[in-house]
């Protein structure tokens, strides 16, 4: 394999289950390869690190062609939670942790977790509202400073 990747900075912008797992897997996988990794949670992606939201991340069951569900079925009350539960069972068998444990594990693996200043202002969130693994609430400028010299992935 040619070349090496030393650092990735991953922007998490979606609050759905399918929006949050991929960046966590990418960040954890990077650390497992010895690659430096930072996660920047912006807009609804902040749900992944917000105390009162982190345990209730659900898949988007409406407007999600990947589910192959008729829109009206996806819109039935309780569908997002039902689907989240069935996915959680399958994931546990594959050794994929639930999001709260995954966030903790990713931070323990040495990835830096940061909240987006503008989004926190928008939603009225402070450090006290975020999980303790978040290192800080930073501006986009700070984020680019952190990301300097590496690759940026937007999810």
């Amino acid at each position: 394999m040619g070349g090496t990747l030393d650092k990735v900075s991953i922007i998490v912008s979606k609050g759905s289950l399918e929006g949050i797992y991929p960046p966590l897997i990418l960040a954890g996988g990077a650390r497992a390869e010895g690659i430096e990794a930072d996660l920047f949670f912006t807009f609804f992606g902040l749900d992944a690190v917000t105390r009162r939201r982190i345990g209730r991340i659900r898949p988007a069951t409406v407007g999600n062609p990947g589910l192959h569900l008729p829109t009206l079925v996806g819109a039935l009350p309780g569908m997002p939670r039902l689907l989240a539960r069935s996915l959680a069972r399958r994931m546990e068998r594959l050794d994929i942790p639930p999001i709260p444990e995954f966030v903790e594990m990713t931070a323990d693996a040495g990835a830096g977790l940061y909240g987006c200043q503008a989004s926190c202002d928008l939603f009225g969130l402070t450090m006290a509202d975020l999980v303790p693994q978040v290192k800080g609430i930073i501006t986009v400028g700070d984020f680019y400073g952190l990301a300097a010299g590496g690759q940026i992935i937007y999810t």
Binding site: M1, I25, G28, G29, R31, A32, E33, G34, D95, I96, P97, M105, D108, A109, G110
Partner: protein
């Protein structure tokens, strides 16, 4: 593929430095393997994790990825990364003379 010598015996490694034949490995190669993986100090805790990965490979035919390694060995993820900063599952597998773990998590 490359051939190199550990503890005075020839071994075959793949392009990423993992043993292609875990049968060529022996415990007395650990210090040299650790040094080549960039670990300057090998503690008992390192040895515990390496032995665990070797045992898991022997029992199940595959080395565990990070989460499985932490869960089954009882060594917290944080400590695993302190012991093996360049990636615990991968580094321990390399030193334990087993193929690279395939898991993503």
């Amino acid at each position: 593929m490359a051939t190199t010598t550990y503890a005075g015996r020839p071994v075959t490694l793949d392009d990423e430095g993992f043993f292609t034949d875990p049968g060529q490995w022996s415990e007395d190669m650990i210090p040299e393997l650790a040094a080549s993986a960039g670990l300057d100090r090998l503690t008992d805790r390192h040895r515990e994790v390496i032995a665990f990965v070797r045992a898991r490979y022997t029992a199940q035919g595959a080395a565990p990825a990070v989460r499985a390694l932490s869960k089954s060995s009882g060594v917290p993820v944080k400590e695993l990364y302190q012991l093996f900063p360049k990636g615990p599952a991968k580094t321990a597998a390399r030193i334990a003379g087993v193929p690279k773990p395939r898991g993503c998590i």
